[in-house]
């Protein structure tokens, strides 16, 4: 299963980005192969509609779970209709590597 995490930078030491639509990078993590992929967010500077555009981006990667600090009002219903699970983590200090470690715990 693939999980998207919003990140402030493109390394494992970067921290969780608390905004979903305007985060700097998406980290797509595969829980089976343990592969990570960093995708720069093209919608970061959008004036409007950054959230829905980012949803399309992560959905196109086949993500089933999204970890972020906050989700906007427009995004929730789209994620619901795509059956993508949202995880809200209220800890902007958390590193990407720590989140990946948490996700690995399950298996």
């Amino acid at each position: 299963m693939k999980v998207a995490i919003t990140s402030t930078g493109n390394s494992h030491d970067a921290t969780l980005d608390s905004r979903f639509g305007r985060c700097s990078f998406f980290v797509v993590f595969d829980t089976e192969t343990h592969a990570t992929e960093f995708i720069p967010n093209p919608n970061q500077e959008n004036i409007e509609g950054a959230g829905p555009a980012s949803v399309q981006l992560v959905a196109s990667r086949g993500v089933k779970k999204v970890v972020s600090g906050e989700f906007g009002a427009k995004v929730k219903s789209i994620f619901d209709s795509l059956q993508i699970q949202l995880v809200v983590l209220n800890d902007p200090e958390k590193k990407i590597s720590e989140i990946i470690e948490l996700l690995n715990h399950k298996n």
């Binding site: 619901d80 699970q85 995880v87 983590l89 209220n90 800890d91 948490l102 715990h105």
Partner: protein, 193 residues
């Protein structure tokens, strides 16, 4: 052109598709009960909410709720009297998916696949999770007295008003934790530091 219908909010969709009468030889055409009408019957007659509360839960006005509920009752009555099947279908609704919180890693997560029961945290896999509901949040005002000066807490004793308690550290009059603006209350009993 009429105003578009407001989208009704549903918290608990039915997990089956409908009802059938017993002992009928020929099948009548079924009555279609919309999801919003099912929700209205659930809120009014099962959860026993008043119309005002139920309307707020469904995010519609009170008169609109009354119309949905009336239509629902008429359809159920029609099905009962004429021996028709009831099918849950359609309606202008959106599902308010349920939120859970994890006590282990402190995250919140929702649950898009409603038919499966959720047992583990979506992030850390811990089983120490709790379902979030609006009402329980408001009820949990802790019985704790807090000092407005130093923030020291003390368990509230029954029949002793918090104002009668004094902080052991700075000798301030205490106040109930969670009381609005408790941080602004200061009084003359406080020692100057």
């Amino acid at each position: 052109m009429p105003r578009p219908k407001r989208i009704r909010k549903m918290t608990n969709p039915p997990h089956f598709r409908g009802f059938k009468p017993i002992g009928l030889l020929e099948e009548n055409s079924p009555v279609v009960l919309n999801y919003e009408e099912y929700e209205a019957i659930r809120l009014s007659d099962f959860e026993l909410y008043g119309q005002v509360e139920a309307a707020q839960i469904m995010d519609v006005s009170r008169p609109t709720y009354a119309r949905i509920y009336e239509s629902a009752r008429r359809k159920v009555a029609q099905a009962f009297v004429q021996g028709k099947a009831i099918v849950f279908e359609g309606g202008k609704v959106y599902f308010d998916s349920e939120w859970y919180s994890c006590n282990n890693c402190g995250c919140w997560f929702n649950h898009p696949a409603k038919d499966q029961e959720i047992k583990n945290c979506a992030l850390c896999g811990s089983t120490n999770i709790k379902q979030y509901s609006d009402s329980s949040q408001q009820e949990t005002t802790e019985d704790v007295c807090i000092c407005p000066e130093c923030g020291d807490e003390k368990e509230h004793r029954l029949e002793v008003p918090c104002q009668k308690e004094f902080c052991p550290k700075c000798n301030c009059q205490m106040t109930r934790k969670g009381a609005p603006h408790h941080h602004r209350i200061r009084n003359n009993n406080c020692k100057e530091i």
